[in-house]
Amino acid sequence: MARSLKEALNSGKFVVTSEIGPPKGTNLEPMIHHIDLLKDKVDALNLTDHQSSVMRFPSLGSALIVKERGGEPILQMTCRDRNRLALQADLMFAYTRGIRNVLCLTGDSTVVGDHKAAKGVFDIDSCQLLRTIRQLESGKDMGDNELDGNVEFYAGAIVTPEADPPGPQLIKFEKKVAAGAEFIQTQAIYDLDNFRRFMDFAGKFNVKILAGIVLLVSARMAKFMNGNVPGIFVPQALIDELAGAPKGTALKKGIEIAGRMVRQIKEENMCAGVHIMAIGKEEVVPEILEIAGIS
């Protein structure tokens, strides 16, 4: 990567980030393959942190691999598994290894994951983690103790534009920006009219917004997400479009839908860019970008 995420977002170009899910186990080959495939096609790659509370190879280790391969990592950090000592220590370590982007998340409950009896830490929350980064940058830790060498990060957070009800979520968004979020990657959006309305609100804040695009692979997946994933709304027209695809071509249709959405967001200049989450199908991200006219 020639430039950092911050430089890319400040350049005014349409920014594309994507996501890599670390493996369950120590076989890093598939992840490295995905990193090599995407590192020069997108502006930065997120490394998920035990996504959905499923224990995996760590996001920090994965971010280092992105760095080693010449990519621009966005380290995802949740507050679920580490208390304030461990989070600060990992931030210092990440900084010394050249990681500059951190996405601050509260994290899913351990109850929804694959270690259901695990203690959820939640010593601090996403807003407080953002403040912690700004505090460490000032040369002091959370206990107000002097640091011998500080950190410097480009800090981000997430928002769910389709949250129901929207009020509490939008206040949380405001608090994240006030706490120091410089970029925001959204939860998946599928209804661009709703997203435009969200941007009417969010566009007033001094923060770069990347619209979340989650690849739909079938009508069944779309219906499942509507019923089971908080803050996801797939309009019926898209479900019908996927259902109407000839047998064996639903994935192709999903890629087409994602590419079309990215293109429209870019053409209408709705926000600073997109964050493409292909969830296990990372190899199709270049195809999405091609359809979107970005490559």
């Binding site: 304030r84 929804v112 996403s126 509490p168």
Partner: protein, 228 residues
């Protein structure tokens, strides 16, 4: 009223814990476990019957009015005879009662028949909610009198997480998202700006576990028995 909310252990776990013993004395409680239907009179009777069917000898049963109360010691003394004949006490009270009884009998093993889930409130008959976890740093003044530390699965003090959905919690759709309740209350009060205020990380050691509070010497009196 504050209630200690309990759930009965599985019959398998109870029989495992009682495996080394033959003669059993069963203790129930007339307060919280009666309300929660986990250790009241009917549950004690059912437990005695099922243990008898499993080949155990029940030397007696008793209901203590409030098992966590100091008067429990007197009640136990009254039943000394029946208790003396037992190898073990099976306690169908919350953990406060179990520990009160265990303190009384230094030479008699106790086995809890219940798990204590939380200290809660019976909001309506048959519905118990956790509304305070005794964090030591009350935030109710800034949350419309609704506690997010107890009411949010993650104890979040700066607003909801992304798992909130239609006013419910990501861990269980039967549970309210407390931040939706707080938002609605603050909106009705016309003070949503309070929710926009950044809340610092909590101090999880206001009173380091195990909690212990001593009434200051000068505030003690002979009348209430606190005089040393």
């Amino acid at each position: 009223m504050i209630r200690s909310i309990t759930r009965q252990k599985t019959p398998e776990e109870i029989s495992g814990l009682l495996e080394p013993f033959t003669k059993i004395f069963i203790v129930g409680c007339g307060t919280c476990t009666t309300m929660a239907r986990t250790g009241g009179q009917p549950e004690v009777v059912r437990m005695a019957k099922s243990l008898q069917e499993a080949g155990k000898e029940i030397t007696g049963t008793m209901m203590i009015p409030v098992a966590c109360d100091e008067l429990t010691h007197e009640a136990l003394e009254e039943n000394k005879q029946a208790i003396a004949g037992a190898d073990v006490l099976l306690i169908m009270t919350c953990a406060f009662g179990v520990q009160t009884i265990a303190l009384h009998f230094m030479d008699k093993p106790v086995v809890p028949a219940l798990d204590t889930l939380f200290i809660g409130k019976e909001k309506q008959p048959g519905t118990f909610d956790e509304i305070c976890i005794q964090c030591g740093e009350c935030v109710l003044g800034e949350t419309g009198g609704i506690c997010p530390v107890a009411g949010c699965h993650k104890g979040l003090v700066n607003g909801p997480c992304g798992g909130t959905d239609k006013g419910k919690c990501e861990v269980d759709a039967k549970k309210d998202c407390v931040w939706t309740l707080i938002y609605n209350k603050l909106e009705a009060l016309g003070s949503l700006d309070v929710m926009r205020r950044y809340q610092d990380p909590k101090n999880y050691h206001v009173e380091p576990q195990p909690g212990k509070v001593l009434i200051p010497f000068e505030e003690r009196s002979e009348e209430d028995g606190t005089q040393p």
